[in-house]
């Protein structure tokens, strides 16, 4: 028998050394493609003014400084609408949208996954189909609907559509399908628990990774939401939009705008770092069976 290859004293099957090396090379190349622009953003944000407009431009920063971040905060303080207002807008819509979505979607997902009622399969198929087209398709008609319901230019125009997000419901339903055993629910029902109680007390604690994923996905979308076609009033616009206005200030704000980009991207990245294992666990049951 041929000698088995080992890695760290463990036998590896079906893996040639050449293949391993090739994969490492490919990974490094692709990784450089992904990471270098991110590194460049951070470099830009740390460059003092003379280095930003150096010729020839250098990739790396020589004398790192936090001045750009200070400039950014000064610009924020000078803005016509106080920046705290933009921050409040983003926090308020994120929290309202996220928790409404979590509650409505998980309740619906529970019923679809764990109660066998006529129409459950069809309803889920309908929801799943909506994953197949992008929201831009519905934007114009949504605008007409929202103006009919007098929601345009209110917080509701951001919050309520977030409640109906499809991906969250899909992930929650799939996760409940594979992680909440029917027998446990059955015995709770036999003990006289109502469906609402079974859902809230028994099923929900079993799907913590899924609701964490829902919260994070929903929050990220709302955090990254820039200007919305449904909002006109300056006082109701998002933090991201306001930061974008600073970035749009042209050459003299290049440093502050790089600092703003770094500030904006750090939040979702940190959130992902903290929640990665839960998100991956949720994605484990995301597959489509038919």
């Amino acid at each position: 028998m041929a000698k088995l290859r080992t890695r760290k004293h463990k036998v590896v099957l079906s893996r040639s050394a050449g293949g391993d090396a090739g994969i490492v090379v490919l990974l490094v190349l692709l990784g450089a493609f992904m990471v270098l622009p991110m590194v460049y953003v951070i470099m830009q944000s740390l460059k003092p003014l003379d280095e930003l407009w150096n010729y020839p431009p250098r990739f790396y920063v020589v004398n790192p400084t936090l001045k750009n971040f200070r400039d950014l905060f000064i610009l924020m303080n000078d803005s016509w609408v106080p920046f705290s207002r933009y921050i409040f807008n983003t926090v308020f819509t994120s929290v309202g949208g996220t928790f409404g979505h979590l509650f409505l979607a998980s309740m619906c997902a529970y019923a679809l996954a764990k109660i066998k009622f006529p129409g459950a399969k069809g309803t889920f198929k309908l929801i799943r189909t909506s994953l197949m087209f992008h929201a831009t398709v519905t934007a114009v008609a949504s605008f007409i609907l929202m103006s009919t319901f007098k929601m345009v230019d209110t917080y509701w125009a951001i919050i309520i559509p977030a409640w109906g997000d499809t991906l969250g419901l899909y992930l929650m339903k799939q996760f409940m399908d594979s992680n909440v055993p029917d027998t446990v629910l059955e015995s709770a029902r036999l003990d006289g628990a109502s469906e609402l109680r079974t859902y809230w007390i028994i099923a929900m604690p079993m799907v913590k990774p899924a609701w964490l994923t829902l919260i994070i996905e929903c929050f990220r979308k709302l955090w990254n939401a820039g200007s919305s076609i449904y909002i006109y009033s300056e006082q109701l616009k998002s933090f991201n939009y306001a930061i974008g206005q600073i970035t749009a200030g042209g050459i003299k704000r290049a440093g502050a705008s790089a600092a703003a980009t770094v500030l904006m991207m750090m939040v979702p990245i940190l959130v992902f770092v903290i929640s990665q294992s839960n998100i991956i666990e949720t994605m484990g049951s995301s597959g489509m069976k038919d």
């Binding site: 079906s14 622009p37 991110m38 519905t138 007409i144 994605m283 995301s286 069976k289």
Partner: protein, 315 residues
């Protein structure tokens, strides 16, 4: 008082017509309808009704101001026979999504597969590196800085330095470069949900299958991939494909931010931009609804096609 277990039994379909049985089952499970009602209400209002409404409006000349008239297929006829820019947009959308969709799908799978055998700690670091661009909001604007039009742009400066070009190229204002560059940037931001689903799917495969495979004559990683990994991953492959396709059609914002609107010579003008032009700026709602309906049909069609192809994996 606790209910007896009989009340929780599914209704047996004896001595009943199908309709009577469905009705009994619906009454027995009435609470399920209460539970799905709030979500379904919102979902209908912002997804189903808008799609249906777009289809209806696309047959009218609605413009938000006057009472709409029914014009039947006039909007569609105009789109295909009188609107040259729409045809350019169609061509660009097809090129864009035909490249970005499969390429991002393949890239997501390959990277997920490559990093699958790394140790848990290093794997989560590498995952973060590849996933970060897709969640970082507008960080893709850095590409506009890298590919700045004058010699202060890092790419131009570097190319001038090594003598590859004689004068700086205005990358995003040049009809030859704008589309490929937007595709590269779109790919850069595309390793999102699909990528995570693949990582999770690969982690979920039972190790024992690989050992059994090796005993049964699997010689190398490619055979292992084709005979064991891919068939096991089929549900994730389906889900990932849907997410990748939908995203590939949704990069209009990236293109607008980088190439401007309208892009030079409409070289990166997609159906999404055309829709935004007529719906969001000119308020020709009837016409833009027709565009939305066409886009909707293209997306659903592309998904149907890909699902059919994927159902053949591993058979």
């Amino acid at each position: 008082m606790a209910k007896t277990s009989a009340e929780y039994q599914a209704v047996a379909r004896k001595d009943m017509t199908y309709r009577q049985w469905i009705w009994k089952e619906m009454k027995r499970n009435w609470f399920a309808y209460v539970m799905i009602a709030p979500y379904m209400l919102i979902f209908s209002m912002f997804t189903i009704v808008p799609v249906a409404l777009s289809m209806v409006i696309s047959f009218t000349d609605f413009n938000m101001l006057q009472m709409p008239n029914i014009v039947w297929f006039e909007n569609y006829i105009n789109l295909f026979f009188a609107d040259d820019i729409f045809l350019i947009a169609c061509k660009n959308t097809l090129i864009f999504s035909a490249v970005v969709g499969p390429a991002s799908y393949l890239m997501a799978f390959l990277i997920a597969w490559f990093i699958n055998e790394l140790g848990p700690r290093i794997r989560s670091v590498v995952t973060l590196i590849f996933y970060a661009p897709s969640i970082s909001g507008q960080v893709y604007l850095i590409w506009a800085t890298l590919f700045d039009a004058d010699a202060y742009g890092w790419v131009n400066a570097t190319l001038l330095e090594i003598g590859f070009i004689d004068e700086p190229i205005a990358w995003f204002q040049d009809a030859d470069y704008v589309m490929p560059l937007c595709i590269v940037v779109a790919l850069w931001t595309s390793l999102g949900t699909t990528f995570l689903a693949f990582i999770a799917g690969l982690q979920g495969i039972d190790r024992a299958q690989y050992e059994a495979g090796a005993v049964d004559g699997v010689k190398n990683r490619w055979q292992e991939l084709w005979y064991i990994t891919l068939p096991n991953m089929k549900p994730q492959l389906m889900f990932g494909a849907i997410m990748a396709i939908t995203n590939a059609f949704g990069f209009g914002g990236v293109v607008t931010a980088l190439a401007g609107f309208p892009s030079v010579d409409y070289a990166a003008h997609t159906i999404m931009h055309h829709l935004d032009d007529y719906g969001g700026q000119r308020y020709e709602i009837g016409y833009s609804s027709a565009i939305a309906v066409i886009l909707f049909l293209i997306m659903i069609g592309a998904n149907g096609l890909v699902r059919k192809m994927l159902s053949k994996v591993g058979t």
